[in-house]
């Protein structure tokens, strides 16, 4: 360690960091931009913050004009939501999201591995096909799915949702995982096959650990879309297999509008994805850019 470090940036404050980039962030203009950024950030966050506040109010304080800013927080609404049978809906959502995400990964990893090592013309055809299924509007298939599920006696079961959520997320997962596999240098595979490892062992011991961050990104995206899915759940489930989004709408329509309770239910429902997304922001960005862009 030297005390006379030539690296200015490590010893100086943030002002010195800004110095080499006078076009952005420096001086009065930069200060105004920072203020603007914060104003917009708070504006975008405000509806969520207001929902969170409302969840801790009594109903009379929740639906007041002018709005109530100061109040004694209460957990009554959360208690009402949980006593109102939220547990079953959460369990259903947990199973549908968890199992479908595991299935997506189990199907997408080998498929994207195969697509990553075969850059022939057929590959882009297959990729195009996978992606084109995402273009198929879900409403165009909901009627036969409803009729077929009815004939198979699987309406209002979680497993119907699991199958549909798997199909819904599989194309995105294949696309993302393929680009992560493409980043792996060939030598790695070579070394594995020299050691006599078969495909399954190579996947498990060498490839999976290397694409782990990509796998996490893929899983996170699948979890978000499955947890938030509403349309299939609305049309294909009833009392037994209904998921959290259905629970939220049911709190709205059953005995009129209870704003505070609705806010508590919405907060509870959003919390798992919210926390996961906040914690794993880097993975989320990689996932959204589908790994296709570096």
């Amino acid at each position: 360690m030297t005390t006379t470090s030539p690296d200015i940036r490590s010893s100086a404050g943030p002002a010195a960091v800004r110095a080499p980039r006078p076009d952005r962030g420096a001086g009065l203009g930069g200060g105004l931009l920072t203020v603007l950024t914060w104003v917009v950030a708070i504006a975008f966050f405000f509806p969520v913050a207001w929902m969170a506040l409302t969840a801790f109010k009594q109903e009379s304080e929740a639906a007041s004009n002018p709005p109530t800013w100061f109040f004694t927080p209460t957990l009554d609404q959360f208690r009402a939501v949980i006593d109102g049978g939220a547990g079953v809906f959460f369990a259903n959502s947990l199973i549908a999201t968890g199992v479908s995400t595991l299935l997506v990964i189990a199907l997408a990893v080998p498929a994207s591995y195969a697509l990553a090592i075969r850059p022939v013309k057929k590959t882009s055809d297959v990729l195009f096909f996978f992606m084109s299924t995402k273009m198929l509007p879900v409403v165009a298939v909901i009627v036969p799915i409803y009729v077929i599920a009815g004939r198979l006696h699987v309406l209002d079961t979680i497993w119907t949702l699991v199958v549909l959520y798997t199909a819904m997320n599989l194309p995105i997962a294949v696309w993302m995982m393929r680009s992560f596999f493409q980043e792996i240098p060939g030598e790695v595979l070579e070394a594995a096959s020299m050691d006599g490892a078969g495909l399954m062992r190579t996947l498990r011991a060498v490839l999976i650990p290397m694409v782990a961050p990509g796998l996490a990104a893929t899983a996170l995206i699948c979890v978000i879309f499955a947890w938030n899915e509403f349309f299939f759940a609305l049309n294909l489930t009833a009392a037994r297999a209904a998921t959290v989004p259905i629970f939220i709408t049911s709190t709205m329509t059953s005995e009129g509008l209870f704003l505070a309770r609705l806010s508590a239910a919405s907060l509870l429902a959003s919390l798992p994805v919210l926390i996961a997304g906040w914690v794993a922001q880097k993975q989320l960005v990689r996932g959204l850019s589908m790994g296709a862009i570096k």
């Binding site: 950030a41 708070i42 498929a111 090592i117 096909f129 165009a140 429902a269 906040w278 589908m290 862009i293």
Partner: protein, 315 residues
């Protein structure tokens, strides 16, 4: 570095040294390589293509669950009815308005926010966290927040805010249903676009920016001639993925306006849902589904071409 492809070609050559005929080996090798792909492919074909074929079949029948025994083949008459249906036309227009409006507004806002976030300032991480939150909120919850807490005519925050500057309260979701839904959609999708563009901005080589600065290019000129072209791929990807999801918007419409008043804010997914699950008109709903798919395929083929081209340019 040798690529995965080269490695596999080598392995294939090794296999050829065996006693089997080349054709046999080639076939075996092809299947061996294809095998890991098959479960996903077969699953996807069964779950997505079979129901669609059934949709086509239903679309040729007159089948209303409210009229038992009336299920019969009617050819293309469902399609003929469709094109005479003004509600269908309005739903189609609304679909375009929602999709184009939301994707464009969210992308422009997203680019602006990404530029604001791509600077060093106090609390940068927290500001980004706050800004991505709408994307993470369950859409059903987001729709409820907007229709009740924000846009409600008596106690909504928006009316309270505009009341502070003396504007009379507005019953947003019934007076401006399309605008209300658009606001909720743009709020939900802007963070998605912002994150993508931010990833693009951070992937920019800094030396190019510095060189531009040395040459005396101003911020505006640098942005238009260097930053924007480099962001192109990210913007295209955002527009494509955003459009895929926004064109299927259902939650916000179902919860905020139920397609109303009348059918003023129904888009195609919502109208098809109405015909199928409230009107029980399976034949009509199926025909609409087929038309929507054909229209989507035409638009999507065009859009995917663009994306594929930009992917290939990179390689």
């Amino acid at each position: 570095m040798s690529t995965l492809v080269e490695k596999h070609q080598r392995r294939e050559a090794e296999r050829r040294a065996n006693v089997k005929t080349p054709a046999q080996i080639e076939r075996g090798e092809a299947w061996r390589r294809r095998a890991p792909l098959l479960p996903a492919l077969i699953f996807t074909i069964i779950v997505t293509q079979v129901p669609f074929l059934v949709t086509i079949w239903y679309s040729l029948r007159s089948w209303n669950l409210l009229r038992p025994g009336a299920d019969r083949f009617v050819g293309l008459s469902n399609y003929a009815d469709l094109f005479a249906d003004s509600t269908f036309r309005q739903a189609a227009v609304n679909s375009v308005v929602f999709t184009l409006g939301c994707v464009l507004a969210a992308m422009i806002l997203g680019i602006g926010l990404a530029l604001l976030l791509d600077r060093k300032f106090v609390g940068q991480g927290l500001a980004r966290t706050l800004l991505i939150t709408p994307f993470l909120i369950m859409p059903v919850a987001g729709a409820m927040i907007w229709s009740v807490s924000m846009l409600n005519p008596t106690y909504g925050m928006v009316n309270w805010l505009i009341g502070l500057v003396g504007i009379n309260p507005v019953d947003w979701t019934s007076t401006y249903p399309v605008l209300s839904i658009l606001i909720a959609l743009v709020w939900q999708w802007t963070p998605f676009m912002m994150l993508l563009v931010l990833a693009g901005l951070q992937a920019q080589p800094k030396d190019v920016l510095e060189a531009a600065q040395m040459d005396g290019a101003g911020w505006g000129k640098t942005f238009v001639s260097i930053t924007l072209p480099q962001l192109r791929r990210y913007i295209e990807l955002g527009v494509l993925l955003g459009a895929i999801y926004v064109v299927n918007t259902f939650d916000q419409i179902y919860l905020m306006t139920a397609g109303g008043p009348g059918t003023a804010s129904a888009n195609l997914p919502f109208y098809i849902y109405q015909r199928a699950f409230l009107g029980f008109d399976i034949g009509q709903a199926a025909a609409m589904g087929v038309v929507v798919v054909i229209a989507t395929i035409i638009v999507a083929t065009f859009a995917l071409r663009v994306i594929f081209r930009s992917f290939e340019q990179k390689d």
